[in-house]
Amino acid sequence: MSAELKNTMSFSEEQSMLLDTAVEFCKAASPIAEVRDLVLTDSGVRADVWQQIVDLGWTGVAVPEDFGGSDLGLAAVVPLAESMGRHLFGGPFVATQLATQTLVAGANAEQQAHWLPKIVAGSAATIAFAENDGSWDLQAISTTLTAGVLSGSKTLVLDAQIAELIAISVRVDGQVAIALLPSAAIPTTQISRDVVLDETRRSYSVVLDGVRVEPDQLITGAAAAAALQATEQAAWLLHAADACGGIHATIDLVVEYLNTRTQFGRKIGSYQALKHPTVDMLMGLERARSHVYHAASLLSAQDDAEVALRMAKAESDDAYNFAADRAIQFHGGFGFTYECDAQLYLRRALWLQYQFGDSPYHWAALQPLLLGN
């Protein structure tokens, strides 16, 4: 094994306050009936709720102060993402945070000055890194930029229809680069909605053929590599945080039902066949959550966080998928209906599992890191 794993765990006063606010706000802003209503809408988000998020300063939490943000870093976004996951938020918050990381880690001063203040002020942004083969390797890019014109297409692009900025990974002369493209540059006919399991999410496929990119819209070289890495790591962290919130809510849902429903004359929660797996859900949550806040702490300390992040992503995916699967089962016939909220969590759990590497992918990636080749 390489070095001993650390057990850094920092949680600042600011983070603590953000967590308190987020728990309250998300609960009030996203009751489950609202979540179901938003499933039927085009954007998946309520404009007034988004505005409140902006007013709370959340879109600027990870933005440097020079650009109007509060510069608390990615770790401060974790309690927000967790609380949103707990209440099944849709909307462009996560995508915007990922694009923010791309900008902070890779964009030059002018690009940052152009985009970051807009983001702080409420413009949505997103990243387009995935391609059709379903690979999680962000280096596997077929989209090319030749003589200023794109060729190729991207998929599973969150919130492409409302994002003002789309950060697109491309190859220029074989080298990785990122195009910071105003979405207005892409004809709307080239953007089509994906049908994904999680109906609270809005995901799109984007055909880029013929779209022009100006030289000053590019991130290249080492900056592009840094941006890709920072964005990927942010995605692992925020997806894991979202999952932790979701497991929490799933457990609440199950416990409530197990304390209500009666069969053969007893509350069903008194049966060990239901009680003990529910305890397993709880232990899965506690473990995943410890990994998540640890990974966030390492990032704050600018420590190497790859192992911690991969563990956080893998543990939270496994725990959420276990919990949501059991939630369906434990609700019996009602669990099999669309009306039962358990399906909302299961769909979110599956969505998170298959974004930016599922748990077996991360377990495999951890092997050389922890055991050598």
Binding site: A130, G134, A140, V196, F264, G333, L350, Y354
Partner: protein
């Protein structure tokens, strides 16, 4: 070539030539999943075509619309359908439950009236045994049927009444005597016409997002007393004999496949085609490990059926294999579907209706639908109780 072998190749050729074109929507995998009119018509047309070609109900009596031929021929057809993965015969309740029942216990009139229409799918049947809140304990049926002159007046509701909105008839279990000596003795069995006033079918949306099962409400619904099968109070016995047909224990079914069976081999094929981070999933060590375990589990289940045919090899706990079948198969299927999604990389998150969904999103849908079997007909948790108590003799709660 033997006569049977010749017949097999004839069937095989007919099925290959006549199987309907793959539709532009995802087909259901059992009759319980028929959720749209397009699915319904596609499957009904196919059953009709198979019947007209003489390949369904082959062993049922000629005088009622059957083929009057040996069962062995029908078995060949069924096996070929499974092998070629043709769409299933959708009037399942008619073919496997009501039809055999009517043939074995029905009057001459009833046989004339119902059998041919079951085979041709011109009259669809549904099932009215389960009720909300009573799970799989049929003894607890609460739906009331009160005799009123030549009719019964029915009140109550039934759940999981798949195909209810298309059905012309329902096999219905209702309580005619609430004061009977035990809860089983007060039940009666009906071949109930669905068009009776006071019967309302309400579709229930599944977690898949589709429709496909229903709740059927009876509000002072009038059902002619002539529709009763068996004497008043004999409903439980009639229902039990129906269940023996359903489980294939006593034979008598019309034949043809009644579902799209899920095989691990299909998932192996998926693993060859689908990619995980740039490589065929089948090259991933974790995937390979999981696949051989799934194959061994599936093979163990197949072999259990083979072993059960040798009495000497099942003397120890005779009920073990039969009573554990539902639990083993349904949980296997749920886990297998879950795993099949994991082969798809980032595309695992796509769903039915997405242009890039792997195999149209069928594995995602199958995973969701798998819960119908781990929940319906007694949850897996209840099944484990039953095995523990009846097979192992562990104390009840």
């Amino acid at each position: 070539m033997s006569e049977l072998a010749e017949f097999r190749s004839e069937v095989s050729a007919w099925l290959s030539e006549n199987r309907p074109a793959e539709p532009d929507f995802l087909l259901p995998e059992t009759f319980m999943e028929v959720g749209t009119d397009s699915q319904f018509h596609y499957l009904r047309d196919w059953q009709q075509q198979v019947y007209e070609a003489g390949y369904l109900g082959m062993s049922w009596p000629r005088e009622y619309g059957g083929g009057g031929k040996p069962q062995a021929l029908q078995d060949i057809v069924t096996a070929e359908m499974a092998r070629l993965n043709t769409p299933f015969m959708m009037n399942t309740i008619g073919l496997n439950w009501a039809g055999p029942l009517i043939l074995s216990r029905g009057s001459e009139d009833e046989k004339q009236r119902y059998i041919q229409a079951i085979l041709s799918a011109s009259e669809i049947w549904c099932q009215g045994f389960s009720e909300p809140d009573h799970g799989s304990d049929l003894g607890s049926v609460q739906t009331r049927a009160v005799r009123d002159g030549d009719d019964y007046i029915v009140n109550g509701s039934k759940i999981w009444t798949s195909l209810g909105q298309h059905a012309k008839h329902m096999i219905l279990l209702a309580r005619t005597d609430p004061d009977a000596s035990n809860k089983y003795a007060g039940l009666s069995f009906f071949l109930a016409p669905m068009e009776s006033p006071g019967i309302e079918v309400q579709p229930i949306r599944k977690l898949t997002g589709e429709f496909g099962f229903n709740q059927t409400f009876f509000n002072d619904a009038r059902i002619p007393a002539t529709c009763r099968m068996g004497a008043e109070g004999e409903g439980w016995q009639v229902a039990m004999s129906t269940l023996t047909f359903e489980r294939g224990v006593s034979g008598g079914q019309a034949g043809g496949t009644s579902m799209i069976a899920m095989k691990v081999a299909d998932v192996v094929e998926l693993a060859r085609r689908a990619k995980r981070h740039g490589k065929p999933a089948i090259e991933d060590p974790w995937v390979r490990d999981q696949l051989v375990r799934f194959l061994s589990e599936e093979q163990g289940d197949r072999l259990a059926t083979a072993r059960a045919k040798h009495p000497a090899l099942v003397v120890d706990r005779p009920g073990a294999l039969a009573l554990s079948g539902k639990l083993r198969h349904t949980e296997h299927r749920r886990r297998l579907c879950q795993f099949a999604i994991a082969l798809q990389g980032a595309n695992g998150a796509r769903y039915m209706g997405d242009a890039q969904a792997i195999e149209g999103g069928k594995w995602q849908r199958s995973y969701f639908n798998a819960f119908s079997a781990t929940i319906g007909g007694g949850t897996s948790q209840v099944q484990a109780n039953i095995i523990g108590e009846r097979v192992l003799g562990l104390p009840k709660h």
